[in-house]
Amino acid sequence: MSLKFGEISYEDYPSLINDFTAQLMDDKIMGTQCSDCNEKYFPPRTSCENFHKSQSMGFFEVSREAVLKGFTIIHFAPDSHADKAPYVVAIGELADGLKVLAHLVGITSQPKVGMKMKLKAQKINDERAIYKFTPV
């Protein structure tokens, strides 16, 4: 069985996603980094934008500290998420400068751009895992 990211997917995932999700289930959120130029990538990718060899790309664990850069509260959702609305989709900037789009959960009032958040791993079932933001 290959592991999948998120609650739904529309494609057969490459092995990178399987490896990423396996670690996500183990509470590790991994990006990839190129050892030739030190460029960091999240979500992880198999090749460096600076045209370095793919053998130079390896996993590293991303920072969990984030700041909210933009958000929306989805009221009218795509079919796949209709029963979950309303929910918050947020873009957070991690302490190492990488940005992540994910749900922001566990909030009691309207989110504020600039608020501090934590990035957390969550296992959905034996096959799937996801990451999400929570307020600090």
Partner: protein
């Protein structure tokens, strides 16, 4: 028209201008003398929920779609970012919709010919906060066409041809999270710069603009990224009615995507049709007096495709 060679062009919501640019290059290269560019879309064949699901795929499928971010949701992310960075308010967003409905009501080809008040616009049903239904363009059926031909042949078809003076194209990352800023569309800035350069003009030479207001925040971003306003100043300018006829730069005075409608593949061509009318002084009670340079701004997905066209009456 059976037997006439055809080509199909697709660039999401920027398909219309992509088709015009394709035809332009076929003529400029000498491959064809004339090309008829037709855009048509029938979107009401599916209900809004299905359309929402299909359009959500305009985002990054592997890493962002799994979070159920709708197409309005992606623009809503830009809206909250712009609001936090520049103090743009919900009232400013809604004022864009009020203006576009004001002019759409006067346009007999508009899909939703209805004026709305600022109060109605602000209190409407939520789609993706801070965007409500009056911040979102319509799911429309529609079509538009233009005939492109060589300069030397134009007078054979009409005494009043319109010239393509400038074309610019730009793009951006597929993932929203890969963008340095959420408060701008880089592709619009790139496309505008090259279109102005090719036409030999500057932003303040433009007399009338058709911009891609798929959402109200998109019109505010376009006003800034096209160079009509400094970053962060477009919202107050909308409230000040500077984009109405008689203001600094009349924008979407045909109703825009918001009220005229947004049949995806037809939109960029419909902008050309409207600008032709304006440049020839045929827009009746929506006429911008003396308009001689018109700009069309057409965006695909969330800025992955951006085309800017400059049209004029020529010299």
């Amino acid at each position: 028209m059976t037997g006439i060679p055809t080509i199909r062009v697709e660039s999401a919501c920027a398909t219309g201008t992509a088709a015009i640019i394709t035809a332009y290059n076929m003529i400029k290269s000498g491959f064809r003398d004339s090309v008829l560019v037709i855009g048509a879309e029938k979107m009401t064949a599916v209900d809004s929920a299905v359309a929402t699901t299909l359009m959500a795929r305009a985002g990054d499928l592997r890493w962002e779609f799994p979070f159920g971010c709708s197409f309005p949701g992606y623009y809503a992310l830009m809206a909250t970012s712009h609001m936090a960075e520049f103090g743009t308010t919900k009232e400013m967003l809604s004022a864009v919709g009020v203006k576009n409905h004001h002019y759409g009501a006067k346009n007999k080809y508009a899909h939703l010919r209805k004026e709305i008040t600022l109060e109605e616009a602000m209190k409407a049903v939520q789609i993706a906060y801070p965007l409500n239904i009056y911040d979102c363009s319509l799911i429309s059926d529609g079509g538009a066409a233009v005939l492109l031909t060589k300069e030397s042949m134009a007078k054979k078809y009409t005494d009043t041809p319109i010239y393509i003076d400038g074309i610019g194209m730009g793009s951006d990352t597929m993932r929203m999270s890969d963008r340095a800023s959420l408060s701008e569309l880089k592709g619009t800035q790139t496309a505008a710069r090259s279109a102005y350069k090719m036409a030999g003009i500057e932003a303040n030479d433009v007399d009338i603009a058709e911009v891609h207001d798929c959402f109200t925040i998109a019109e505010i971003l376009a006003m800034e990224d096209l160079g009509f306003y400094e970053k962060g100043t477009a919202g107050p300018a909308v409230l000040d009615q500077q984009t109405y006829i008689g203001g600094k730069i009349p924008i979407n005075v045909d109703g825009g995507l918001k009220s005229k409608g947004h049949p995806l593949g037809a939109t960029g061509i419909s902008q050309a049709v409207e600008l032709r009318k304006q440049l020839l002084g045929e827009a009746n009670d929506r006429q911008v007096d003396g308009a001689s340079v018109g700009l069309s701004h057409n965006v695909g997905q969330t800025g992955q495709f951006v085309n800017v066209m400059i049209y004029s009456r020529g010299n």
